[in-house]
């Protein structure tokens, strides 16, 4: 799980998240980066601990700083949070995924493909990371078909070895 704490520089930091950078004092370079997205130093402060590009993406898609932080606490980065909100998901919905040892952002990817946690876990057991599985599911593959196709070549060599 993610946590909110004070970082080494005394700044608010969301730690142990899957998708967010830790905060450090914005220097001239960070401010220049922020200006590139039409953001000010004040914007960066209001949006700690997010980077300029994340603030830009969140604002563009109507995700508030508070909501972005709520998602970040669950281990979901801005990019995935934007997609999750679009799907009508709530931050706590990713907790079972984290509890199962999966990246919380994968819950969003799965929801887009209409996959449940149980299905995702089954795909993972045979070696498919969730985004790969989700693309295959969208393309109409069953787990059995994908499993057979994926290991067809490998099994042939393994059998020869045996």
């Amino acid at each position: 799980m993610a946590a909110v704490c004070r970082g080494a520089r005394g700044r608010l930091t969301v730690t142990r998240t899957a998708g967010e950078p830790a905060a450090a004092a914005p220097g001239a370079y960070e401010l220049a980066e922020a200006r590139g997205y039409g953001l000010t130093a004040g914007d960066l402060r209001r949006w700690e601990p997010f980077s300029a590009i994340q603030v830009h993406w969140a604002r563009k898609h109507g995700l508030s700083a508070d909501d972005a932080r709520r998602w970040a606490r669950e281990g979901v980065g801005v990019r995935d949070a934007v997609r999750a909100v679009r799907l009508g998901m709530a931050p706590e919905q990713v907790r079972p995924w984290a509890a199962a040892g999966l990246p919380p952002g994968d819950a969003v990817e799965a929801a887009e493909a209409g996959m449940t946690l149980a299905e995702a876990t089954a795909w993972l057991r045979v070696g498919f990371i969730l985004p790969d599985a989700a693309l295959l599911v969208r393309d109409g593959w069953t787990l059995a078909e994908a499993d057979a196709a994926r290991y067809a070549g490998v099994d042939r060599y393994a059998a020869a070895g045996r």
Binding site: A18, G19, E20, P21, A22, A24, A28, Y29, E30, A32, E33, R35, G36, Y37, S51, I53, Q54, H56, W57, K60, G77, V78, R79, G127, F128, I129, P131, D132, A134, L135, L136, D139, W141, A146, A149, R150, G153, V154
Partner: protein, 410 residues
């Protein structure tokens, strides 16, 4: 892993294919402006279309069908005039819009005839920007050519072009594959130098963000933290077919088994005096060692080329086994499928710019910022591609020395 049908969707870029339709919504760099210091015409192949790029004597660029609509002669052997390109076979003249301006014998026999008004040659718009010639092969109205902020950084610029014998998409997948740096560039380079180690710091974490013009990939290695710019800023997989890390690497499909790698590079110069580069040199970078017949492996992009061509002329993605290091690659594929659908539905795809007010020095994330310090003791060796011509190296050296000696701007 993908089905062979889905793989084809990603790889095929000919006219009428879904990916061809998507990529035709963007301006593509196809040559360097400075190539036309010595040329009038250049045959090019872009996304399976055989074309001729030319500059006429008024200085306008054109991109027309390789074959004359009269009797299919090769327009690459045509000759330029004040306006347009004339076929060397019977003298038909066409302008950059494809209009036929002159049919010498037809007009002699039928001075009032309208034959030439009925004949056109396929033509696409071409625009010069940042030392490159950009072609747009899609439907009108064309979007704007992105005006990236990096083009305006102070420094010596150069362009290098290579032709890579493989499909474009495996090249572009490399643009969002952080872990390959550790192995292909760091650890393999150690081996090539005959060293046993120490090996490069291992990647421990990857992250991805999205923005208006593509994706940013971020990384933490054993020797870095989340305070490092490689995590805080990351690098850009620039939509749809470019990598941006402070320099640009476009991967332009020549056809489905050949890719034009177009690199745009900048070397920061010392001092603060204005530096105005009149001409950006463009050179052809070799990919094969003529002595050994093997791919060149000494430079960063050459090493990438070896990985790409090693995947086959068109990578067979039905046989691959993706893992955690491939999350970016999967994200890229998914987005490509979505954007192909967007184009099929009549929408503008990701990253097209149509508002001139938006298209002013468009910001791209860059590690170290736009104004980076010059190397201290002279220009750095060119590490990206083998074969940099001596004249380019010495021009850069000269520019560096001049800037180092010039008084700073007041």
């Amino acid at each position: 892993m993908l089905s062979s049908q889905r793989n084809k969707l990603l790889c095929e870029t000919g006219p009428g294919t879904p990916m061809g339709e998507l990529l035709r919504r963007y301006w593509q760099p196809i040559a360097g402006v400075s190539e036309f210091d010595r040329l009038d015409t250049k045959p090019v192949r872009v996304m399976g279309e055989d074309l001729v790029l030319y500059r006429d004597r008024e200085g306008s660029y054109g991109l027309v069908d390789r074959h004359c609509p009269h009797r299919r002669a090769d327009m690459a052997y045509g000759f330029t005039e004040g306006r347009g390109l004339r076929c060397n076979y019977h003298g038909w003249l066409f302008d950059h819009s494809g209009a036929c301006l002159h049919q010498p014998y037809e007009e002699t026999r039928h001075p009032e005839g309208t034959f030439r008004d009925k004949v056109r040659i396929k033509a696409y718009p071409v625009t010069a920007k940042a030392g490159l010639l950009w072609a747009y092969l899609g439907p009108q109205p064309a979007p704007l050519i992105p005006d990236w902020d990096r083009y305006y950084s102070r420094g010596y610029k150069q362009i290098a072009i290579s032709e890579i014998p493989c499909n474009w998409f495996q090249c572009q997948e490399n643009s969002i594959d952080p872990v390959h740096f550790e192995w292909l560039h760091s650890n393999w380079s150690l081996v090539l130098r005959g060293a046993d180690g120490p090996r490069a710091p291992a990647h421990t974490r990857l992250g991805f963000d999205e923005f208006d013009y593509g994706f940013v990939y971020r990384r933490v290695r054993e020797d870095t933290t989340e305070d490092d710019e490689l995590w805080r800023t990351g690098r850009v997989c620039l939509w749809p077919n470019c990598l941006y890390t402070g320099h640009f690497e476009w991967r332009v499909p020549v056809d489905d088994t050949t890719t034009l790698s177009v690199g745009w590079f900048i070397d920061e110069l010392p001092g603060g005096a204005p530096f105005d580069q009149e001409r950006i040199p463009c050179w052809q970078a070799p990919v094969r060692d003529e002595k050994t017949g093997r791919w060149i492996d000494t430079h960063v992009m050459n090493q990438d080329y070896i990985a790409w061509v090693g995947q086959g002329a068109i990578a067979d993605r039905t046989l691959e086994h993706l893992g955690e290091s491939d999350r970016g690659v999967i994200m890229l594929r998914k987005r490509m499928f979505e954007e192909m659908e967007a184009v099929a539905a009549g929408r503008d795809p990701l990253g097209t710019i149509r508002d001139p007010a938006v298209n002013e020095r468009v910001h791209l994330p860059i590690v170290g910022g736009l104004n980076q310090p010059a190397a201290k003791d002279g220009p750095r060796p060119f590490v990206f591609l083998a074969g940099q011509p001596d004249e380019v190296r010495s021009e850069l050296e000269q520019a560096w020395q001049q800037c180092a000696a010039a008084p700073a701007a007041g």
